[in-house]
Symmetry: C2
Subunit: 321 residues, 2 copies
Amino acid sequence: MTGKCGLAAILFLCASWASVGQQAPTPGSKTLQEVLGYPASARLLIIHADDLAMSHSVNRATFQALEKGWITSASILVPCPWFPEVARWAKQHPEADLGIHLALTSEWTDFRWGPVSGSEHVSSLVDGLGYLPSDVDVVVRNAEMADVEHELRAQVNRARSAGITITHLDMHMAGMVASPELFGVYRKLQSAYHLPILLERSGTHSPPKGASVPANDVLIDRAITMEPGVAEKDWLDWYRKQLAPLPPGVYQLIVHLAYDDEEMRGATWDHPDWGAAWRQRDFDMVKSDEFRRFLQEQGFVLVTWKKLAEAQALRDRQTLH
Amino acid sequence: MTGKCGLAAILFLCASWASVGQQAPTPGSKTLQEVLGYPASARLLIIHADDLAMSHSVNRATFQALEKGWITSASILVPCPWFPEVARWAKQHPEADLGIHLALTSEWTDFRWGPVSGSEHVSSLVDGLGYLPSDVDVVVRNAEMADVEHELRAQVNRARSAGITITHLDMHMAGMVASPELFGVYRKLQSAYHLPILLERSGTHSPPKGASVPANDVLIDRAITMEPGVAEKDWLDWYRKQLAPLPPGVYQLIVHLAYDDEEMRGATWDHPDWGAAWRQRDFDMVKSDEFRRFLQEQGFVLVTWKKLAEAQALRDRQTLH
């Protein structure tokens, strides 16, 4: 399987570099797998839960999944009301791999949040009531980049002030790759905070058209995240079908965890996509013996963003010498 | 009973006017009960739920209590995440009696909120993480009145922009009577928005020492609100003992409604006073046949803030002529 997968991987990666205009890696440089001491044929996988801090229901499910090792990483919606619960938990779990889920949108109907820096300070980021808008399209149309940078720094800084060790930055609703300008701020934050950012070679979380990114800064070959339309009975199968054929490389499986409880149903009642039942299904899946056995049989190596950042630093050093 | 109660009422009211330096009412002017067409011996009662919008659990319980007539009024914590749910419900229930629960504090540990106008805009109102502080004492020490007025206007304005018809203003954790300066802002908002404000003749919600208030502006003779220390088995009895001996007058019973569910336990886990179980007990009480029968037997006349405002306007007009 190794040889075949290796060739497939090369074709897959070359195709996607071309598609997003990323700069090719230095010839002969090691893959992240190799830098971390795994064979070139290894498939590294981050299992990542989004939207931590959104609600108590999300927190309960995600904390449990992190503590049990069902997932390896999560990222935090800092403007949300349950952020202090995350900060307290993080202090009790300093080894937890936590990133910032940079947020410029607030997508529910009955339950919303505004910018951390304040609606009056970043007026191009808010709707008439002072909340972040529901759609990324509105952000692309209205947001001034000075406001975006100011607010996102405020989100990262609040998490740092609360004592959270941040391992990576990623983005709510793929907002930071929705335009070249937003992507520019994402890259700026990456270097300002010396943190890896979620970018995949192609797909929802890849750089916008025309953006030029050093290949070494794109750590994820593919982010696997379910889109609407999968029936409940096909849930586990869908994930298996995405993961099984992957060639050697570095992957992130993005899940959305919560309990299907009153709080979560209240927040998502008119929005079944990524809603309460969806999140309960993801939670049931990551903790199921069946899924965990599947990962083991497939030989996936579970990793964290912290590990990837170490590998990136090592590789950058090797490239320099 | 009427004569005795009438005398008791006069003594009770005179004593409390003296204690807070309120200006005596115009001699011969009618009581609010009389202005509203009730006999002078009537006891009017607002049953009022605080903290609407705080959580989905609070909203569910409070909406049900308002719809069923178990309570007659409620006030909204505008900075809280579930405010949009309240705004949507209010549109469907335009007759609902809703006030603004002016908030300068955010008292829970794992679940907090910041100012509506933004932590950077009203920096004297927030802690190191940008949230409103836990205690009123901190507000009294640090808050600049320009920030207080700016933020509280932003809270009222957000509710108005969301289409809510506001019937009154009151205050979270009795913050607006915690200092003469804060009280000054409360009075300013009262006249700016032409809304009645919660003030009682003596007690937690009475004007601060030395403040001079026209007696006609103090609409509530006494606000009854449970303080910590009542055992679960004595819950209903405590309320009965407070209400039964009241002389004729205008009263507000303040309750805190929610379900004792995961969300509410998560928010209040280290804070049993006014916590999840407390709120479930208040909810169970207001909806119980026993309590409702008690109110009826006692002859309390249930009223709203809207009704009181009408009575106040009528009385003011009569006083002028």
